[in-house]
């Protein structure tokens, strides 16, 4: 019998207390199977970004363990397998669009020729060709989002983590990003996505995890959640499970 493939992400007993005493996560457990698409939903301050930061070695964890495809998240292998697009745009202001991708590829161990080829691919895929030689501070908000996503995918990660990738993005671009993210998932990439747009979570994700106060409250398919909470819509589930009103849905196809 072949060994079962380890989950793309395995979080065990993860706690994070920030230096100011804020407890953002408490004994958090989560397992994300290889090839799945998980949506993380929860109100502001629920701990979503903290969870993601723990996976990507961006915070010092207080307790617990994080494994990426069976390897400790701080290992070289795990780092190479994860691609992250952060909630807040964090581009290198000294680099052009092209350099942003190239240097990221380099940090992640890609050979130069390969990185060049991949950067060109990403620039085309995210429609950034016209801005290839422009420095990042001169990009529009939407272009920065696209570049952020392109950078996350640059080194061909097996687990892609997208923290509110469509925040502040116009309707057209959102639909475009959805299409791209879906295709990525179909190609076998595991995706973890946070969003405040419930329809986005429902449209994209296989499963949804509801987080509140640093704890996992429920985790199921959208369908399963509706059944469990005897709700008609995901928004109703959100209210019943988390006790707070659901975030406003994005304006429907107005654009």
């Amino acid at each position: 019998m072949p060994a079962p493939t380890p989950p793309a992400l395995e979080v065990r007993g993860l706690s994070k207390r920030y230096d100011d005493g804020t407890v953002a996560l408490e004994s958090f457990d989560l397992s994300v199977p290889d090839g799945s698409f998980l949506g993380l939903l929860g109100p502001n301050g629920a701990g979503k970004t903290t969870l993601i930061s723990a996976v990507c070695n961006l915070i010092r964890i207080t307790a617990g363990e994080v494994l990426v495809f069976g390897e400790p998240s701080h290992s070289m292998a795990a780092r190479r397998w994860v691609g992250l697009a952060e909630q807040d745009v964090n581009l290198d202001r000294f680099l052009t669009v092209e350099e942003t991708l190239l240097y990221h590829g380099g940090y992640f161990g890609m050979a130069k020729a390969e990185a060049r080829k991949r950067a060109a691919e990403m620039i085309d895929a995210f429609d950034l060709r016209a801005k290839g030689r422009v420095r990042t501070p001169k990009l529009s908000g939407g272009m920065r989002r696209r570049l952020l996503l392109a950078r996350a995918l640059m080194h061909r990660p097996r687990l892609v983590i997208l923290d509110e990738p469509t925040a502040g993005v116009d309707f057209e671009l959102r639909v475009e990003l959805w299409r791209y993210i879906r295709r990525l998932h179909e190609e076998g990439t595991t995706i973890v996505l946070t969003t405040h747009y419930l329809e986005e979570a429902e449209a994209l994700c296989d499963e949804i995890a509801l987080i509140h106060g640093g704890r996992l409250h429920a985790r199921d398919t959208a369908e399963g959640l509706r059944e469990r909470y005897e709700a008609h819509t995901l928004a109703d589930v959100y209210v019943k499970a988390l006790g707070s009103p659901a975030p406003e849905a994005p304006a429907p196809a107005a654009a």
């Binding site: 952060e86 202001r93 940090y107």
Partner: protein
């Protein structure tokens, strides 16, 4: 191999940053140091007796080059890492498959490269202007290397601890510049009366200037072994401190 490429690209990024802003990062400090050499050396030089057997305009060159270099190493690294933290671009590096020593070294390289560019440019200009030469190339290289490690690493440490951009300029204005002016850049501390002479001997910048002056002129106030040892004894813990910040994630990671 693991992480070696990442280190290479990070070092390259730091150099690219200097290159893209070279008028501020290299040209400006070269011009201001040359002005010092011209104004102080050539104008005062005719009125001041020789110092330690050297014409004044020659005597001040090693100290001025040393100060230009270590200040550049410090300024470069403190502002580069501060900006990387401020823009949170540093996350791209912290999450990359690199080891902490590679991240630390990569961020340190920028200051050293910038300092060397400035030092070589100043040397190329000062040689024809003042006729200065290099008496002990090996000692000079060693002194420069130790001085750059020291100030590059301090730049990283301050840049990581700084909460505002002013914090990092504060350090240079309040600590480095006064120590430099009191460290024998413009005079031989041997000429000073007590207690200024003794006080100079507890100033770390004095040892750096003295060791670099020995490399250029072959003359120094104290034994070059002593000055090199003092600079090394400071450089090692400074670098270890910046390394510790990357290893532990203190301040860099919430």
């Amino acid at each position: 191999m693991s992480g070696a490429r990442g280190l290479g690209w990070l070092a390259r990024r730091e150099v690219l940053r200097i290159y893209k802003t070279w008028t501020q990062t290299v040209l400006a400090p070269v011009v201001s140091s040359i002005l010092f050499i011209l104004v102080f050396g050539l104008s005062l030089g005719s009125r001041i007796r020789e110092v330690a057997g050297f014409p004044y305009e020659v005597y001040i060159v090693p100290g001025l080059i040393a100060m230009a270099m270590v200040q550049a190493a410090y300024n470069n690294n403190s502002s580069s890492i501060f900006q990387a933290r401020y823009d949170r671009f540093v996350h791209d590096v912290l999450s990359a498959p690199m080891r902490p020593w590679q991240m630390n070294l990569g961020f340190n390289v920028g200051g050293m490269v910038r300092a060397l560019a400035i030092g070589l440019a100043l040397l190329a200009l000062a040689m024809p202007i003042t006729g200065i030469g290099v008496a002990h190339p090996f000692a000079l290289l060693l002194a420069v290397a130790l001085g750059l490690v020291l100030f590059s690493a301090i730049g990283i440490v301050i840049g990581i601890f700084a909460e505002t951009f002013d914090h990092s300029t504060f350090f240079v204005n309040i600590v480095v510049l006064p120590l430099a002016f009191l460290g024998g850049v413009f005079y031989s501390v041997g000429q000073l009366p007590s207690p200024w002479h003794e006080l100079s001997l507890v100033n770390p910048v004095f040892y750096l200037v003295d060791s670099i002056r020995y490399g250029f002129l072959g003359a120094s106030d104290v034994s070059p072994w002593l000055s090199l040892s003092v600079v090394a004894a400071l450089a090692v813990p400074a670098y270890a401190w910046s390394q510790w910040l990357f290893t532990s994630g203190r301040r860099l990671k919430a």
